[in-house]
């Protein structure tokens, strides 16, 4: 009480004379509490309009879809899980376009989404050639080889607890290292073509995948293994019918992490030398020519490719490990 500000001490008692104050306050707050955030938002929009009309438009465009999203997610509408993020993404794109148009930002600094879209549709053949070179040849080949090698290594050291105890800390350490740095070395060794990119990807994905596989192969508990022993199951039968299925959530976790790493590795490697095609190469060249819309077009393709790759692995995971608690719906 003693710490109240002078304002509250002097003004509020004056207002509080009589029971009407409490009555109105409670009545209003109980029935109209939901009005408080819209009032604050309206105040922000109004102030922004007073300061600069462009800022006002910006906040108006920001708050309108946000209110829709809030309503959709509060009522737990069916399909909100897809609609709400879509609205959010479209709003962000709209704001980007709006800011670029209203403030007349130079296309060299930040091109508008419409300009980027025009570039994507205009240069489809170049983008497709780059995508094929970087993602389908470099990243995918490296991803398959690296993850496959890590999986086989995990199986190979499976029977030796000694090697596992040694490999897991070393693998964890290696997974935290900036392995991207090996890109210049590997480009020197394997040349400018896609094999060097695949090699960088192999180096990047191997250790995260290995650690996940080794951990996955250890998750079965003693009762389950005892049960298999009572069936007189051989090592390979236990592996195939108990331990590998049990390891699948871990394996897929590794596979999902590696999708992003693979794409980054392939693009980074192209900065150290590449043939005259590829996403990293194109970004480097177009940056020098200051045609930022092309750079953004490549980024859009990379983001779409990366999300698609991740989504594909997540989809396969959902189909294969439907039994796992983490995949349950609701």
């Amino acid at each position: 009480m003693a710490r109240r500000s002078r304002w509250r001490v002097s003004i509020l008692p004056a207002l509080r004379r009589g029971p009407w104050y409490e009555y109105v306050r409670h009545r209003w707050l109980r029935s109209n509490r939901w009005l408080v955030p819209p009032v604050i938002r309206a105040a922000i929009v109004g102030l922004a309009f007073l300061a600069d009309w462009r800022l006002g438009v910006f906040f108006l465009v920001w708050f309108a879809p946000w209110a829709v999203n809030a309503a959709l997610s509060d009522r737990r509408t069916i399909g909100a899980g897809v609609v709400v993020p879509m609205i959010f993404g479209v709003t962000l794109l709209g704001l980007w376009e709006l800011v670029v148009q209203l403030y007349e930002i130079s296309p060299i600094i930040l091109p508008a989404p419409s300009a980027i879209w025009a570039r994507i549709t205009g240069a489809t053949d170049i983008l497709w050639a780059d995508f094929r070179q970087t993602v389908l040849k470099g990243a995918l080949a490296g991803y398959v080889i690296g993850c496959g090698a890590a999986f086989l290594t995990a199986l190979a050291v499976d029977r030796s607890g000694f090697l596992q105890r040694g490999l897991v800390p070393v693998g964890n350490f290696m997974a935290a290292l900036p392995i991207v740095g090996t890109a210049p070395i590997l480009v020197m060794w394997f040349g400018f073509g896609w094999p060097s990119k695949a090699a960088v990807v192999v180096a990047m994905v191997f250790f995260p995948m290995l650690v996940n596989c080794i951990q996955g192969l250890k998750v079965t508990d003693q009762t389950q293994r005892d049960l298999m022993h009572t069936y007189a199951a051989r090592y390979d039968q236990i592996l195939l019918k108990l331990r590998l299925p049990a390891a699948m959530p871990f394996v897929f976790n590794g596979l999902k992490v590696c999708t992003t790493l693979a794409l980054i590795g392939a693009i980074v490697a192209e900065f150290f030398g590449s043939p005259t095609v590829g996403m990293g190469f194109r970004i480097k060249i177009e940056m020098g020519r200051l045609s930022m819309d092309m750079v953004w077009a490549e980024i859009a393709v990379a983001a779409l490719g990366g999300s698609g790759f991740y989504g594909l692995v997540a989809f396969i995971e959902r189909r294969m490990t439907f039994w796992h608690p983490s995949q349950r719906q609701g």
Binding site: A70, S73, A176, L177, L263, M279
Partner: protein, 335 residues
């Protein structure tokens, strides 16, 4: 007194031979690791001998010399520009460029950082890394708090946060450099002398490393802030605790272990982000710049020593966070 002594005695001392059991336990942890490392080093030497052999034989052939197997092997392990430098060459280079060189040098009457010293380059990488790590952690925690408290935010932001990580950072690095160097506010600040030219160069690096480091923090903190179970939350309700009080007294303390786990991931990611950011932006100083110049001039030993320096930096940062984690959790009364 004897009761107290019995109470504080650790289980290991209960053994017949306490020292032996402790040694055995330490050995069971370190021995496998050392074995694996030793095998890696051995493979490395064999690979170096194999990969550098062509050059040695070529040089000998040009001079018309006949070399014995021993001489060939000795030469492959000590070339100036080997295809694969050997571990001892890399460590000699590391030693010479850290302790064998002065960190500062006199130039044009001023004492400046010495670009021949790897510590100098490590500093130019670590400063933006830490800055980006702080920005990323702050944003990540903020975002996680918003996601946990606002359903609309959780539904709209989370999918995009995941999607943002599928964008290869290297691609956005040049754009961030262009945008940052064209910001009128920043240029005005440089003209006024409020921030130095060097800061301008490190801001894009910090932004890129924060872009990589915010994501693990968001994921970890969302899980951490949601980790109090229903009974704990119900207890807070019976106390008529406000959301604010529930946050500070229940959710935040419960999330600290999650926070540290994700901080360790995110600081490693921040370092990768800075090094990658140095590649396309034409940075002159920093470990990434060192990698790039090494690759331009074929200085393989320089590349490998820069690589090891970055590994040492990453390991140091992660270990430091681990120590802070132990101290904090101990003060919070958790084992």
């Amino acid at each position: 007194m004897s009761d107290l002594a019995a109470f504080s005695r650790s289980p290991a001392e209960g053994d017949a031979r306490p020292l032996a059991s402790v040694l055995r336990r330490v050995a069971s942890v370190t021995l496998p690791v050392f074995t694996v490392v030793a095998v890696i080093v051995l493979i490395w030497y064999l690979a170096a001998a194999g990969m550098n052999r062509a050059w040695t034989l070529d040089q000998a052939g040009r001079r018309g010399l006949e070399l014995t197997v021993g001489e060939v092997i000795a030469d492959t392990l000590n070339q100036d520009r080997p295809v694969l430098p050997t571990p001892h060459q890399v460590f000699t280079e590391l030693w010479n460029t850290t302790l064998g060189e002065p960190v500062m040098r006199e130039r044009r009457g001023e004492l400046q950082g010495n670009p021949r010293n790897l510590v100098f380059h490590a500093y130019h990488t670590l400063a933006p890394t830490l800055m980006g790590f702080l920005i990323g952690t702050f944003l990540g925690v903020l975002l996680a708090v918003g996601i946990v408290h606002n359903r609309a935010m959780s539904m709209s932001v989370m999918p995009w946060a995941i999607a943002s990580q599928t964008i290869p950072i290297l691609a956005i690095a040049p754009i961030i450099v262009v945008v940052v160097s064209n910001l009128p506010a920043l240029n005005a600040a440089v003209d006024n002398g409020m921030i130095s030219e060097e800061m301008i160069l490190s801001i894009p690096k910090a932004l890129i490393s924060s872009y990589l480091s915010f994501f693990p923090v968001v994921v970890g903190m969302v899980a951490g802030l949601r980790s109090p179970n229903a009974t704990d939350l119900d207890l807070m309700r019976t106390y008529a605790a406000s959301r604010y009080q529930t946050f500070w007294k229940l959710r935040l303390p419960a999330s600290i272990p999650f926070l540290f786990t994700s901080l360790k991931v995110s600081i490693a990611a921040a370092l990768v982000g800075t090094i990658v950011a140095e590649l396309p932006t034409g940075a002159r100083f920093g470990l990434g710049a060192r990698l790039l110049t090494g690759s331009y001039y074929g200085q393989t030993i320089q590349i490998w020593s820069a690589l090891f320096m970055s590994a040492i930096c990453a390991a140091t940062l992660v270990v430091m966070l681990g120590v802070i984690e132990k101290l904090v959790l101990k003060r919070m009364g958790q084992p």
